[in-house]
Amino acid sequence: MIRHQEDIIIQTICRMLIPFMQVYGLYVLAHGHGSPGGGFQGGCIFAASFILMPIAYDLDKAKRRFTERRTILFCSLGVFIYAGVGWLCLLLGGNFLDYGKLSAILPVGPVMARYYGIAVIETGVQITVMAVMVSIFINLITSGRHEEEMRNTHD
């Protein structure tokens, strides 16, 4: 049971901090090519911003943004993007996950086609990791009842 506590300092700071955390998560994803980072790391940082919301505020705020249907949709979307790019490379004549053949649809050479293939794949991985982390967190807190209304939130 989560007791609803009003704490003005924590709420103000979290309200300012959550958008910056999300931008930082996307930055770590986008700069995975030139500095340490990538899909898994950016996904965890992005999920941390959504986990900060129930800790500072009420759980209903996070549940309104991440209904159960949307969470599971995002989980599957990431794996679908990853396998979809591999399947697309198969259609264009190469092996599975052979991004060099993507140069048939993108206007770049085979070396840079692998560059862009890696970028799309890391995006898919980030979406899945973010959605799974938020889903596990909300399920552990509400004991599996993601969709039920929270009773006794205001004591």
């Binding site: 794996v79 890696i118 552990l140």
Partner: protein
């Protein structure tokens, strides 16, 4: 009783491990077998073959992309499994 047995087994296993660790290569040796077979090829050719300066991302997403696909499937399965364990259909 259980704690004493646990400490005894842990110390015995620690002694065995420390004996076995002497034969491993010293820390930071550039000629150890872990850095000799396929790893120099990844280091030297990853920028010219993939165009990505970060070798870890290039190996993870391009040379070993199949492993990363199934690892994403593993974390998806973990999310679904938590949902299924904690949800009871009976009220």
């Amino acid at each position: 009783m259980k704690k004493f047995l646990g400490v005894a087994i842990a110390i015995a296993a620690l002694m065995v491990l420390l004996q076995g660790v002497e034969d491993l290569p010293p820390w930071g040796d550039p000629n150890q077998p872990a850095s000799l077979h396929v790893s120099p090829r990844y280091i030297e050719k990853s920028l010219t073959e993939t165009g990505v300066p970060n070798m870890v991302t290039a190996v993870l997403a391009d040379y070993r992309g199949y492993d990363t696909l199934f690892e994403t499937a593993v974390i998806f399965t973990a999310g679904v499994a938590v949902l299924m364990i904690l949800r009871r259909s009976a009220p």
